[in-house]
């Protein structure tokens, strides 16, 4: 039954992702860059969920792997080719190696100590990337493409133009179909669909891991590590494997970010970015399949759409009201949108942690139960 349900979920998810440019049109988020970010941070969160959601190990350091992925990808673009395939491969491999290193050190401890170790190691990587490692990372400015990069596999392009990232000729930034549907101007873009395919693939991998004996062991680690050890399972290689897998997902996400937009900045490694992916997973619902993706969409939507609501936009919204009321509403609302988006996000996050420990998915489930009365039926079933 679970297998059937998983298949249905995967199919619905795939349809949803593929139709995203249409689905998100009414929300104002249906432009390539943001859709790409939804998908890429979705991958990041899915990977993080494999560690945090399944094993309960709270890492604040996964931003480092995102950064490593981006740097690796941009170096591939600079040295080898603008084709994103080798870049993504190197991103995943490098992030994996890096994760193995950091994971090996930090997984010697658990609980809060593990969190602080990852925090310290990630912060170290960030500080070094920002300054000392500038020859590798281009420091403050971030690593970017230059006209005089070698790119040994690529033919020379037109003089004075940087080449575009592509997948065997499909340019990531190209909008290949631009129809108008229901009055919305839709932009179907290669970059998004490459990210989307990766997202679907990641989602599928995540389902497989969740349902595998490996995933079962990871969940066992979270609920009772002592029992697991006395059951003959060595939990450390399992957590390390989960750590490396999630690090590789982060690397893939970092590589994709760089593929969509070939620049890698040190800020990508800061612990607050690592904190952001924690927010995504918790908001969406840790340990659930779909939650991390929802959380990623939610936060990126906030960051990119909410932060752009300025007073003038608000005045537009409320302009049908009498002046005094509209001014009053603008005054009331404006601290929470535009430059106050962080406040609203923080508050929402707290509300979720306090009242919905299962995140948005949990909330949706509760609502569904209310509607269908499944709650009562389940209770009845228990009593029988």
């Amino acid at each position: 039954m679970t297998l059937m349900r998983d298949r249905t979920l995967l199919i619905i998810f795939t349809l949803f992702v593929l139709a995203a440019p249409l689905i998100f049109a009414p929300t104002g988020a249906a432009y390539p860059d943001l859709l790409q970010r939804f998908a890429i941070y979705g991958i990041f969160a899915i990977g993080f969920n494999i560690l945090f959601g399944l094993t309960g190990y709270l890492s604040f350091g996964h931003a480092a792997f995102l950064g490593v992925g981006s740097y690796s990808a941009v170096w591939m673009f600079k040295l080898l080719s603008m084709n994103i395939l080798p870049a993504l491969l190197l991103s995943v491999v490098m992030a994996g190696i890096f994760a193995l290193l950091i994971g090996y050190i930090s997984l010697r401890r658990s609980g809060i100590y593990f969190s602080i170790l990852t925090l310290a190691l990630a912060q170290m990587s960030y500080v070094l990337a920002y300054s000392v490692l500038t020859p590798l990372t281009n420091g403050e400015t971030g690593l970017q493409l230059r006209l005089d990069d070698p790119r040994i596999l690529d033919a020379a392009g037109p003089e004075g133009f940087l080449p575009s990232t592509n997948l065997f000729g499909l340019e990531m930034k190209e909008v290949f179909w631009n129809p108008t549907v229901f009055g919305y101007d839709l932009q179907f873009n290669w970059g998004y669909y490459v990210s989307a395919v990766m997202l679907i693939l990641s989602f599928w991998i995540s389902i497989r891991i969740f349902r595998s004996p490996f995933g079962l062991m990871l969940r066992a680690i979270k609920t009772n590590q002592t029992r697991l050890n006395y059951t003959g399972v060595n939990s450390r290689p399992y957590t390390l494997a989960a750590f490396v897998i999630s690090g590789m997902f982060a690397g893939l996400a970092g590589g994709l970010l760089a593929s969509m937009d070939p620049l890698a900045g040190a800020e990508r490694m800061q612990w607050t970015v690592g904190g952001e992916v924690v927010l995504m997973v918790v908001l969406g619902g840790m340990g659930t399949l779909i939650g991390p993706v929802l959380g990623a969409i939610f936060i990126k939507y906030f960051e990119n759409i909410f932060s752009k609501i300025n007073e003038v936009v608000l005045q537009g919204w409320f302009s049908f009201l009498p002046d005094w009321l509209s001014n009053f509403l603008v005054t009331i609302v404006s601290p929470f949108v535009g430059r106050g988006w962080g406040l609203t996000l923080g508050a929402l996050f707290m509300i979720v942690v306090i009242f919905l420990p299962g995140g948005l998915v949990d909330g949706a489930r509760r609502i569904m139960r209310k509607i269908t009365g499944a709650d009562r039926r389940a209770a009845k079933a228990r009593n029988e």
Partner: protein, 448 residues
């Protein structure tokens, strides 16, 4: 939500913005004057104001935004016209740009390259912005400049002081009005030599990232040319908040000048520490110990409080300037907001006007046309005397102000006084100068 907005679209037009949750179709490529990204087709044109609204530079961003709104007002023929009246080019008529009413969208850079690029992308892809401007740090400016080059959009940089913006990271679609580290040093060195003598030993504390390094190198070169000796250069981590352990070794190092190549919070904290350690009142080598802050801003001076008194530095522009353009701008900005504008406000206001004027002269929003109109453009009346946008690297050349912290401020804005206006000729340099070599503008990209 969106239904409501669609009903109110007429009203929105006057509000001049496209915002969140809104479902307005975007025009990507189009008709008449077409062939470039986001060519405007209707009666309006959208500009993207991308400024820090969170993070340590949020106040600077807020001031930039004020200036942008003022510029939009003036371009659309509202208000007193500000510097449009004193600008040497008379193309702007107060009827928008090329007869199109100016609308705008705003975004938050968070002073992070990633977030800044995301925000700029949404302005380009979603809101149909034809020009992006703003920013309050060099990392962000260079990142967004690169993006605009790729997307085929003009980028009018805000506050960015690193040599690299118009040096090794210069781009055909990017233009910088603000001055840079080299110009700061070139302007400061003669004044310093004049005031403090040519026999000085300088100790540099430098923020350990690209901007800090270029600033330090420029300062060291310029002061050494005047006979100063650089006794040490110590790099300080970006995240330092307490500089005491970097300041203490200065005391007995034999140096008699301390140069703080810091900006923002770093500068405020390092200067505060230096003053607390009594460096300002110290005598070394029978000379008064001096502290220098190569790049000043009024907001930083405000943050450092009393400690800036008597400290030399350079700035792009200051509201106390008495030329017609500056006076008109201060008047206009002051009437609107009740306090004088900062240098960041000035530079972004100028950038908006310069862009609009270039469009008028080129007769198009096409980045290549606009770029051509800006390249080599000579103008005056926007403060800073006679100014030129150099074609070779898209750097603006103008007079640079050497300022010092005012001893007896008369108001909370009166923190800096202009000591000397270093003429443009003294700060000009060859585009292939050692601090700027290695980059290439590339070819202008109209996108689409």
């Amino acid at each position: 939500m969106s239904k409501l907005i669609l009903n109110r679209r007429g009203l929105l037009k006057t509000g001049a913005a496209v915002g969140a949750g809104m479902a307005m179709p975007t025009i990507l490529t189009a008709a008449s004057d077409g062939g470039y990204t986001n060519a405007p087709t209707g009666s309006t044109v959208t500009l993207g104001f991308n400024v820090p609204q969170s993070g340590p530079y949020a106040d600077e961003g807020a001031d930039e935004l004020r200036a942008y709104l003022l510029a939009v007002k003036h371009l659309n023929g509202e208000g007193d016209g500000g510097m449009m009246n004193t600008f040497s080019s008379k193309e702007l008529k107060g009827n928008g740009i090329l007869g199109r009413k100016v609308e705008y969208v705003t975004g938050d850079t968070q002073t992070k390259s990633d977030a800044a690029r995301a925000s700029a992308q949404s302005m380009i892809q979603k809101d149909g912005a034809v020009m992006i401007t703003g920013g309050s740090s060099s990392g962000v400016a260079i990142a967004v400049q690169g993006l605009c080059q790729e997307a085929g959009i003009i980028f009018m940089a805000g506050l960015t002081h690193s040599n690299d913006t118009t040096g090794k990271d210069k781009k055909a679609n990017g233009f910088r009005h603000f001055f840079n580290g080299y110009m700061s040093a070139a302007a400061l060195a003669p004044v310093l030599a004049d005031r403090y003598g040519t026999d000085r030993k300088a100790y540099h504390l430098t923020a350990d990232y690209t901007w800090g390094w270029t600033q330090q190198a420029s300062m060291a070169a310029a002061t050494e040319a005047k006979g100063w000796e650089t006794v040490a250069n110590v790099l300080t981590p970006l995240t330092t908040t307490d500089f005491s352990s970097y300041i203490a070794p200065v005391i007995n190092s034999g140096a008699d000048v301390l140069v703080l190549n810091h900006y923002g919070g770093n500068m405020i904290n390092s200067l505060t520490s230096a003053v607390q350690f009594g460096l300002k009142d110290k005598m070394v080598n029978n000379k008064n110990f001096e502290i220098i802050v190569p790049l000043y801003s009024r907001l930083m001076a405000k943050g450092a409080g009393e400690n800036v008194k008597g400290i030399f530095g350079s700035t792009n522009w200051h509201w106390s300037l008495q030329d017609e353009g500056s006076k008109a701008f201060v008047q206009s900005f002051g009437q609107e907001y009740g306090f004088p504008p900062s240098q960041a406000a000035h530079t972004v206001y100028c950038q908006t006007l310069l862009y609009a004027d270039a469009c008028e002269r080129a007769g198009t929003h096409n980045p290549c046309g606009v770029g051509e109109a800006l390249e080599g453009f000579k103008f005056s009346g926007l403060g800073n005397g006679d100014v030129e946008y150099r074609a070779e690297d898209h750097q603006c050349f103008k007079d640079v102000l050497v300022v010092k912290g005012k001893e007896n401020p008369t108001s909370e804005f009166d923190l800096l006084e202009v000591v000397e206006v270093t003429p443009r000729a003294q700060v000009e340099y060859d585009p292939e100068n050692e601090f700027f070599a290695g980059g290439s503008l590339g070819t202008c990209n109209p996108g689409a």
